[in-house]
Structure formats: structure tokens, C-alpha cells
């Protein structure tokens, strides 16, 4: 896994002392690593049950939306791997490059209403919030907000 911001600090700090801001960010990051690792473990462990629950819940709430296949539910749950890696590295750029940019382009290219994917993620969020502790959810929250923001109609339309 690449921690891009940490790598950049180490590269640019070559043969000089770290400044206060860099030290504060690194210390803050290292103190949160156990929680971040716990999140990754939790998400990995819960993948099969989350997929089943998400598919069932989407079919119950939106029976008319044929977009919500089991495979798409599985894809969305698996997208949490990208989220988890970005959280572990504390770098949202990884999430944007690996998942969000592709998702936005795919939604626009296939004329899929981004609100439908946003709805699916909202259900997934509810399912996750029931199972994750508050401290774990706190480290996940910035990445989740990034996902939510990317699914606004304006942003998707802008990629067309």
C-alpha cells in the first residue's frame, strides 16, 4: 500500500528536520493506525453479510429499480476496499483516483442516475453504522463524505 502524503513528506524532508506541522500530522496518523486497521478488518469480515443485507434491503425499498442486481450490490460492498485503503493511508486522493473518477465516468457514460447509486450507498451506510463502533466510524467518515459529494448530479454531469 502507498501512503502518498507520508512518502511525499519523507522525500521532501530528505536531509532536513521535519517541521512542526509535518510531525503533528505523522503523530496524529500513527495514533489512529490501530483504529484504521480495525476498520479494514471489520469491513473485510463483514463483506459477505453486507452484500446479502444490502441486496435484500435495496429490493425491499426500491422494488421497481432493476439496476440493483446482486452483482451491483456486491460491487458496491467491494468498493469499501478502496475506501478502506484510502482510510488506512489517510489519503482521499487514492479513493478519487481508484474509485470515484471511474464511477463518475461510468455513471455518465451509461446514463445511470447518480441518485440511485447515492441511495444504495445511503442504505449501505445505515447497515454499516449499525455494526461499526463510533471511533471506527469517525475515521471512515471523511472518505464517506467524499463518496457522497461525488455522487451529486452536478459533478456527474460535469464529467460528460
Amino acid at each position: 500500500m502507498i501512503n502518498t502524503w507520508l512518502t511525499e513528506i519523507i522525500h521532501t524532508a530528505n536531509e532536513r528536520l521535519f517541521n512542526d506541522e509535518e510531525l503533528a500530522r505523522m503523530l496524529s496518523y500513527y495514533s489512529s493506525v490501530p483504529t484504521r486497521l480495525k476498520l479494514v478488518e471489520e469491513l473485510e469480515r463483514q463483506e459477505p453479510s453486507l452484500t446479502r443485507a444490502l441486496h435484500k434491503e435495496l429490493q425491499r425499498r426500491y422494488p421497481q429499480r432493476t439496476l440493483y442486481t446482486r452483482r451491483l450490490a456486491q460491487d458496491l460492498v467491494e468498493s469499501l476496499r478502496y475506501v478502506a485503503r484510502a482510510v488506512l493511508a489517510d489519503d482521499l486522493r487514492l479513493l478519487r483516483y481508484r474509485w470515484i473518477d471511474h464511477m463518475r465516468a461510468a455513471l455518465a457514460a451509461c446514463d445511470v442516475d447518480p441518485q440511485w447509486i447515492a441511495d444504495a450507498y445511503a442504505v449501505l451506510r445505515e447497515l454499516l453504522q449499525r455494526q461499526l463502533t463510533r471511533s471506527v466510524w469517525e475515521v471512515l467518515d471523511p472518505a464517506w463524505s467524499e463518496l457522497d459529494d461525488s455522487l451529486t448530479r452536478g459533478l456527474v454531469a460535469a464529467t460528460r
Binding site: 502507498i2 439496476l67 451491483l72 460491487d75 468498493s79 481508484r98 474509485w99 473518477d101 461510468a106
Partner: protein
């Protein structure tokens, strides 16, 4: 791409994994996750290759370079088809057309070939209008009185032939080496492209992309009944393992 009623999928950018192109410094070999060997060919090599072809083949270097692109593209898209089929756990060609477009754009960007986009030509639906931003050869060659993105023309022809199961060809209509912003191409059934290319070559100055599209619409033929999506791959020998170019 052929229209597909396949369910929508979201799997992320296949190439955006860390170390997608992984170099083993002890052996000096770079490979993709599926083990395909990748090598970097620098601009000096590519220009040298082009110059040698011009010297050895004269005017027919354009045909040779495009054929090389076609051969390369035929192998490239077959490999990507295998890899994407495994990634999506369903046949790649059955994915929604828009998703195939996004995957191909991801592939072009990851390999450094530029920013690809294409749409079906509204004026004449048997054709596809494609463009590549920051394409390689125009950046290397500089000024020219003819389009120079011949490798990409061949590559696109091979990709569309493979995905449509028809023999398609590609005509580059605009090129940064002639002052355009980006490389633009018209892709369609090979006989139709041959007709258009003959018309295009006979005109001075060379017609723009839009003019070629208008000509395509004006000379549009009724679809042939036999032109279904049966798969007719190019009969190319495949004794060599695929070796790809990253520039």
C-alpha cells in the same frame, strides 16, 4: 460498441491498483498482474522506427505503420478482454457499451497513450467518431502535412473490429501535427472507410472531421443483411507472446 442489455456494474479503475506495472529490479523485468511483460520504448526509439520505415518503405510506410498498429491492437484488446472478463466475472463484450468506453479510456490513460473518447456518429450510425488527447506520435513528430497517428489508427481499427466482430477500419481526419487540438478518427466498416479515405485524399485542402462525417452520411449505404455481430477475427499468427509498449 454493440448494444448490450447487460446489467450495470461498478468495479473501479482496473489499472489504478498500486504497482499495476510491477518492475522486478533483480531481473530487470516489468510485468502486469497477469504476468504480461511490459517494456518502455522511449521517444528516440519510436522516432527511429518511424524514420527507418520511411527510409525503407517510402510512401507505403503509412500502410506499414498502420498495419503494425492493427496487429498490436489485435493482441492488446484480446489480453484486455481476458483480464477484464476475469475482473468483472462476466464476458467483457457483454458489459454495457458506456462501461466498455470508460474501461478503454482507463486503459489508454494507464498505458500513456493519451485521453481516449468516442461516440457513435449521429450523422451515420455505422461510424464511430473517436478522439485522443495528448496522443504520442503527434507530440513526437511535430509538424506534418498528413496525420501521423498511424499506430493509433491501426490500434483503434483492431479494437473496434474485435469488439464488434466485424472488419472495421479507421481514418485519422485531424492531427495536432497539422494544427488540430487533438487526434480525431473516424472508425467504420472497412469498405466504407476505404471509400471515404479515397475521397479524403483526393481533396485539397484535406477535409475536416465534420466534413468527413457529412460525406459519410451523404454516401450512407443501407445496412447489409449479412452484417450481424458474428465474430470474424483477423487471421494473424500469434506465435509471439504479447510484448507491449509503455511510453
Amino acid at each position: 460498441m454493440p448494444e448490450s442489455a447487460s446489467p450495470f456494474r461498478l468495479k473501479g479503475n482496473y489499472f489504478a491498483e498500486p504497482y499495476h506495472f510491477r518492475t522486478d529490479v533483480t531481473t530487470g523485468v516489468c510485468r502486469t498482474p497477469t504476468g504480461v511483460r511490459i517494456c518502455t520504448l522511449p521517444p528516440d526509439f519510436l522516432l527511429g522506427l518511424r524514420d527507418a520505415l520511411i527510409y525503407e518503405c517510402g510512401k507505403s510506410y503509412r500502410t506499414v505503420l498502420k498495419a503494425a498498429g492493427r496487429r498490436w491492437g489485435s493482441q492488446w484488446i484480446k489480453r484486455l478482454d481476458r483480464e477484464w472478463t476475469a475482473y468483472y466475472q462476466q464476458p467483457f463484450r457483454e458489459l454495457p457499451a458506456g462501461l466498455i468506453r470508460v474501461c478503454l479510456a482507463d486503459a489508454f490513460a494507464a498505458h500513456g497513450y493519451g485521453k481516449l473518447d468516442y461516440t457513435r456518429a449521429e450523422e451515420s450510425p455505422e461510424f464511430w467518431s473517436a478522439e485522443i488527447g495528448d496522443s504520442l506520435f503527434p507530440a513526437l513528430v511535430g509538424e506534418s502535412d498528413r496525420p501521423v497517428d498511424l499506430l493509433m489508427s491501426g490500434l483503434l481499427a483492431a479494437i473496434f473490429s474485435y469488439l464488434h466482430g466485424l472488419t472495421m477500419d479507421c481514418l485519422q481526419t485531424e492531427c495536432p501535427s497539422m494544427g488540430a487540438e487533438r487526434s480525431r478518427f473516424l472508425i467504420g466498416p472497412a469498405p466504407r472507410i476505404a471509400e471515404l479515405e479515397a475521397w479524403w485524399e483526393a481533396n485539397t485542402p484535406l477535409p475536416s472531421h465534420e466534413q468527413v462525417l457529412q460525406q459519410a452520411a451523404a454516401t450512407s449505404h443501407a445496412p447489409t443483411n449479412g452484417q450481424t455481430h458474428t465474430h470474424q477475427e483477423h487471421h494473424l499468427p500469434h506465435s509471439q507472446p504479447p510484448l507491449e509498449v509503455v511510453s
